[in-house]
């Protein structure tokens, strides 16, 4: 269970880096975009700690900007370290996806489906 949650944490981190690679954004916009990609149940409760962790690791940098709708909003953007981390994630994800794909394909051949 813990391994599964670690795996999910890594996947979400990678996806958030990828979303932010397309342009800087703030917390709720990131949640919206993640939902649009199919992470239906994702909420700020999950995304905000990940954004904070990525910022502490140096993968993101943030800037507060005035908002007309409330307190200043924190906008996140990728740093060079973040771009490197995203490249590593894309590479390791491609390998993992290929391996899992092969395993599942073989299983469906064996069962004749």
């Amino acid at each position: 269970m813990a391994e599964q949650s670690q795996l999910m944490k890594g996947i979400l981190e990678g996806c958030i880096l990828s979303v932010l690679a397309r342009g800087e954004s703030y917390g709720y916009r990131v949640v919206e975009r993640m939902r649009a990609y199919g992470f239906d149940d994702i909420a700020e409760a999950t995304v905000y700690p990940i954004l904070t962790r990525l910022e502490k690791k140096g993968a993101l940098q943030s800037e507060r900007r005035l908002s007309t709708k409330g307190p200043p909003r924190k906008y996140y953007a990728l740093t060079d370290a973040g771009r490197d981390a995203l490249a590593r994630f894309e590479e390791s994800w491609s390998e993992t996806a290929a391996i899992v794909g092969r395993v599942l394909k073989e299983k469906s051949h064996e069962t004749g489906n």
Binding site: A45, P49, K57
Partner: protein, 281 residues
């Protein structure tokens, strides 16, 4: 100022009970012991006034909503309040706390405008949400980390109480001789290492009743123990020694330096633990 949340009402009620209890205790003390000098009278009156002022200030702080928090309706403010209270006892720096509070507020305002529930933002479990944020900042709730916090709290408590005692004596007794009862110092050990972490946990988990119960039970047990020892075992030499002896913990400048050094060491250990934790993120 909008309608108070359930949590606010509870906290104000508990704060009111604590203030009333303190005043009743002081009045009982005055009635039982009599007032032998105007200095003592002024001290008691001062403590009563302080109790009322602290209660009034606490109530105003709890009811006051900042510029942006005023934009929240009650269910959203209730969620913000839970997060804010949990953050206030979280092991974060002041700047980090302020930053996270602002972010949570901003997220709740967005949620309210988009018609999503407040629980959508925090996931419905504020304690877990704040714990994840603490983790993201590199803080870990380890035994050593908490022990260091307790040591710092203990140093603050002893310094504060010795200062109060010094003022109670009207400055007639030198500060380094303004001792506290040995029995009180013994009481502070479980208070610092057991009750204090328990209270922080109760605040973080939004359990104001548990907080009040812990305080009342501990005070009752302690006072009960003193009464029992006083009535049944006062003839025993070591019991008499514990009950009657005053000890000035801060008895010299060397001790001041030693305690400051201890607090600094505790802070350094916490800093090292945090840095290690940040590297593991």
């Amino acid at each position: 100022m909008k309608q108070a949340t359930r949590q606010t009402r509870w906290l104000i009620f508990i704060s009111f009970l604590v203030s009333v209890s303190l005043i009743v205790t002081l009045v009982t003390y005055m009635a039982a012991r009599g007032i032998s000098s105007s200095r003592e009278l002024w001290f008691v009156i001062g403590m009563m006034a302080l109790s009322v002022v602290v209660f009034a200030a606490f109530t105003i702080i709890k009811l006051y909503r900042g510029k942006y928090a005023r934009m929240l309706d009650v269910p959203y403010f209730a969620e913000y309040e839970k997060a804010r209270d949990a953050l206030n006892v979280a092991e974060l720096s002041q700047a980090e706390r302020r930053e996270v509070k602002e972010d949570v507020l901003s997220m709740l305002i967005d949620a309210q405008k988009q018609g999503r529930s407040a629980q959508d933002v925090t996931g419905g479990d504020t304690d877990a949400f704040i714990s994840r944020i603490r983790g993201a900042f590199g803080y870990r709730s380890t035994f050593v980390f908490n022990a260091c916090s307790s040591v710092q709290f203990g140093i603050f408590l002893v310094s504060f109480l010795q200062s109060v005692n010094y003022m109670r004596m009207g400055g007639l007794t030198p500060f380094f001789e303004s001792g506290l009862g040995l029995i009180m110092l013994i009481m502070y050990v479980p208070l610092v290492f057991l009750i204090y972490p328990l209270l922080r946990s109760a605040v973080r988990r939004q359990k104001p009743i548990l907080m009040a119960i812990v305080l009342v039970v501990y005070a009752t047990l302690f006072i009960g123990l003193i009464i029992v020892l006083d009535n049944t075992a006062y003839h025993v030499a070591w019991v008499r020694y514990i009950l009657d002896t005053d000890v000035a913990v801060i008895f010299s400048w060397t001790m001041v330096i030693a305690l400051a050094a201890l607090a600094a060491i505790a802070q350094t250990i916490k800093w090292v633990l945090r840095q290690r934790s940040l590297r593991m993120l």
